[in-house]
Symmetry: C2
Subunit: 391 residues, 2 copies
Amino acid sequence: MTPAPRARQTVGGLGESGILRILNRRFAAVPAAGDWPEGTVGPGDDAAVVAAPDGRFVITTDAMAQDRDFRLDWPAVHGVMFDGHGLAGGYSTGWKAAAQNLSDINAMGGEPSGLLLALTMPPATPVAWIDGLAAGLAGAVRHLGATRCRIVGGDLGSDDRITVAVTATGDLDGRPAVRRTLPPAARAVTAGHELDLVLCGRAGWAAAGLNVLETPRGRLSELLRAAEQAEQSEHAEPGVRRLAALAAAAQLRPRPVLGAGRVAAEAGALAMMDVSDGVLKDAGRLAAANGLRAELDPDWVRREASALMPLACALDPASGQRTAERWVSAGGEDYGLLAALPAGAAVPAGFRRIGRLVAESGTPAAAEHEGSTGSTGSVGGADGWDHFTDR
Amino acid sequence: MTPAPRARQTVGGLGESGILRILNRRFAAVPAAGDWPEGTVGPGDDAAVVAAPDGRFVITTDAMAQDRDFRLDWPAVHGVMFDGHGLAGGYSTGWKAAAQNLSDINAMGGEPSGLLLALTMPPATPVAWIDGLAAGLAGAVRHLGATRCRIVGGDLGSDDRITVAVTATGDLDGRPAVRRTLPPAARAVTAGHELDLVLCGRAGWAAAGLNVLETPRGRLSELLRAAEQAEQSEHAEPGVRRLAALAAAAQLRPRPVLGAGRVAAEAGALAMMDVSDGVLKDAGRLAAANGLRAELDPDWVRREASALMPLACALDPASGQRTAERWVSAGGEDYGLLAALPAGAAVPAGFRRIGRLVAESGTPAAAEHEGSTGSTGSVGGADGWDHFTDR
């Protein structure tokens, strides 16, 4: 039995084999870890061997960098509270690294089968942080319901800062993958017709959470206290402090709905992708991949924004509605699942209709909607997050 | 057609889609890229779908960090010369990232089927560098003979420094994977008997190359010139300058022998691993995984070191032989392939016998060999490279 890491121990004092013991103890806790089918190989060798029952596998990779994609001092989230216990940032980082990769498997209609972790970090990294990271990876696998997913291997290296690169694999169980582009047969049938755009999962909550986490603690308390005083006279529900904690949790521990990809595939989704960079940008990408234009339903944006409105008004008293609608339309990292269906098709369980994909017209969408809140249609990713440019 | 990147262009000016165009142009040049079997999916979607003809796949991942695992200013290697053209460092970095992962697939007895690239970098990264990186990845796939390997996807993120995390997958074509640990049946038969330790590929050349690359240019020229003058009287072959360039090339563009894993598997290798951290350390690991102790043949170390001796004597006139033997026994990153076979078994084509694995005795190997050059046996990785401790 590996003892729990002491508070001030660093990875430099442990060496690679000590670090691997810490990681593998956590990875052994995912449900499927107890059962390695005949012919497969788990962690500890040059490479792992994973089953691919239908003769194919889905695979994706994502890297997260310290101070860009996560912060060492991010707080822990306990129920509706969050506090400043810095080492808990490891758990959230591991959770998020797993969740965003599992979401990509989901977005092809697959079921996760394996995760790999390539981790670079300074020798001064606290052991408790990487123990938290490993627990977060395993926690996401368990709590998001990836029951067939094992953590199959990884790599350790040293660097000045921490980088967490996760690779995920998945099974399609004999189904075709649902791609961003419509299959050729569907393209012929749907040509000239619009498609329904549906979403599973929330939009805007992770962006709201980022706003909460980036507001200095003193200022945040002040803003929330002021909003709570206003609330008491209105008997509003849920309370703004609870909303702030839920938003922070959405940013720190996103919850892609892992069954949704399969449900949508079986319901006849023609094209699909997950929302990592914002609904507007990603719907634009889904549209552009098919020579179409995305139009978000402004009523959906308003409805979706209404739940976040008390928090938006607390953080940005001058223009709360605009802020809430921007979170919903342009905020990334909720890992909702976008799918395109034939117009009028039954909306798959867990999804709701949020707009449509229409033929590209001569009129740019931006001009069409000028003067609106900016929460409606856009061509090919005009808003949302780009890692290398200012928006 | 994407135009070749201009000399001073940075990735910040291109945005993600521009960077992806640069990368994908290079990735389309690997031999298998033209042929995506029915039911598979290439780059550009949430995830890729790769064929796994025998219902399993091998998978491994490795991350490389700027200034730790590669340098931006590493020189280009042209035949026997190397020069200071810094952007060529991208090519070598891509090559090495691919090679070390392909080597891990090889070490299980697999044939590479796919590569993924997760890349984080600052917006100021020159486009020419990442173009070189992509060309190097594709170049390694092509020149190392991974004819069935496609570059199937990746991820881009921003960071203060560059991190290159590559994941590789492979096929076993129905064969069992060759692991570090002996299969249980073999363990019963070989119990109490020693095993032969064989190696495919060179040892010590990458370490010699690192020594060359880390010697300041002026000082290096001086040392090589002095050695060349001594050479002329001896008619030594190959010339020390050529040797320095070959060693630098071995460090910058390691060449694992990708067919060797399959050859060894078919020749009855009982356990196998690649040499990334030095023969002594990795042979110690292979031994320890089976409750055995590794003994390197000191004659092999001397023979292997003799080819590097002129370079070792040039760089370290005071103790050239010791340096050359240390490169061979403790130097990593040549990605040779170590295998254990029943004692006296035929040595597979391309391999040679370098030592043996014997039962652990009460006498620690370190004591047994005390006073030697340190190039003989060691228990469980006492020498070689650890990322998190000083040796």
